[in-house]
């Protein structure tokens, strides 16, 4: 079953378009998706995933596994940066170690969306509250990252005039991707509760178009990820190894937590993907502003150039195998 899952994932349109983008860069084609078109797709995907998550969350409510799962997700986003930092600090200075650590504590919405698409083709159900978990894992990781910076290197920062904590917290909690995701989730909730006529009318936009838009966006992600490959030489073997091994380790922790939480296989896969993925949208933007001492090519290349392709291509089906192995067989 293992290799067939990997093959099925490899040959799905989103992953194939990701490959096409990678190949475009490798062979030197001038294919590019000019700015701000990728932004259109990333805004759309966040809006749609949030809205759909809200619709489903309204049906499932906040009982049962919902709050424990969200709590566990937030806990992971606080803990992963801590042990990542300890590992990274052996090779990098405090600024870079903290920035990379925050990146791995946070999540990749695109990886999550690709995992949802994978589950749909596998006909495995999953719940809307997982989108809430997704939305709530971004900010804590950013804040832990900044705490690590102040702890590890407080005295060396002449420029950081008193660490404008207000701006930092706003960036952590209100950056556009978190804001749009949470906002669309709440809108989905409200619409499902009070104006069900709106659900059907939104569907062609927020639901039907979703898979194709994801494929188109992954074409661009393939281009951008492949452009980062050059930076990897600068990053070095240690960081490349970290970018594959840390997600695997986090996936292991995640699958055990999912078992403990009693999640079904669909939700369990999404939970594992949240733990194993690294942010290349909200966190880099926040780190660029708040920790300019860290080198962006390190934290972006590792999350976008290594971890993201790894998760998209082999990670998701691999984690599915893991979930099937660790979770108790369905009754």
């Amino acid at each position: 079953m293992d290799s067939s899952l990997i093959l099925q994932n490899l040959l799905s349109p989103p992953v194939l378009f990701f490959f096409l983008g990678v190949i475009a860069v490798l062979v030197g084609s001038d294919l590019e998706i000019p700015s701000p078109l990728p932004k259109l797709f990333s805004l759309y995907l966040l809006l749609a995933i949030g809205f759909k998550g809200g619709l489903e969350l309204q049906h499932s409510g906040l009982g049962g596994q919902v709050l424990p799962t969200i709590g566990a997700a937030v806990a992971m986003s606080l803990v992963v940066p801590l042990y990542s930092f300890l590992v990274l600090k052996t090779r990098f200075d405090g600024f870079n170690a903290a920035a990379i650590a925050a990146t791995y504590g946070s999540i990749s919405a695109v990886t999550f969306i690709t995992a949802e698409s994978f589950l749909e083709t596998q006909k495995l159900p999953f719940d809307g509250f997982m989108v809430a978990a997704l939305a709530l894992m971004e900010s804590p990781a950013i804040i832990v990252g900044l705490l690590l910076v102040t702890l590890a290197a407080p005295q060396k920062r002449p420029g950081a005039a008193g660490m404008r904590w207000g701006a930092v917290l706003r960036e952590a909690c209100l950056n556009s991707s978190v804001f749009l995701l949470v906002g669309s989730l709440v809108i989905g909730l409200l619409v499902a509760a009070y104006s069900p006529a709106g659900i059907v009318k939104m569907e062609p936009f927020s639901d039907k178009l979703f898979y194709g838009a994801l494929s188109f966006f992954l074409l661009d992600m393939g281009i951008v990820a492949a452009q980062r490959i050059r930076d990897l030489r600068q990053a070095g073997a240690f960081l490349i190894a970290f970018s594959v091994l840390m997600p695997l380790f986090n996936a292991l922790v995640g699958v055990l937590l999912a078992r403990g939480l009693g999640l079904g296989p669909g939700n369990a896969l999404l939970f594992v993907v949240l733990c194993a993925s690294a942010s290349y949208i909200a966190v880099p933007a926040a780190m660029r502003m708040t920790v300019p001492e860290a080198n962006p090519s390190l934290y972006i290349s590792s999350a976008l150039g290594v971890t993201f392709p790894f998760n998209i291509i082999v990670g998701i089906p691999l984690y599915m195998v893991l979930v099937n192995a660790v979770l108790p067989a369905a009754p």
Partner: protein
């Protein structure tokens, strides 16, 4: 009159414009989506979708007299975050 050219990350644009205003400049113009290379490496607009942004180019035409205050407000930002600032002569057409 003087012409000041500032090139810096879009993320720091607001802070820099505040400093330009505070220095008493009569106006400024901003071009976004500027890419480039400097001591901190290459800046592209490929990560634009993430809110990371590219560089911005700020042009200020002003009297020589406000240059010291401009320098005072902007230099710390450029030193910490990167970016360049140059002055040249310019006369009204």
């Amino acid at each position: 009159m003087k012409r000041v050219d500032l090139i810096l990350s879009e993320r720091e644009l607001d802070a820099v414009l505040k400093a330009v205003d505070a220095a008493g400049a009569p106006g400024y113009s901003v071009i976004k989506h500027v890419t480039g290379k400097g001591p901190h490496g290459w800046v592209s607009d490929a990560m634009d979708f993430s809110g990371l942004g590219a560089n911005a180019h700020v042009i200020v035409f002003c009297e020589a007299g406000i240059l010291p205050k401009l320098r005072e407000g902007i230099q710390p930002l450029l030193d910490y975050y990167g970016g360049v600032a140059y002055v040249a002569d310019a006369e009204p057409l």
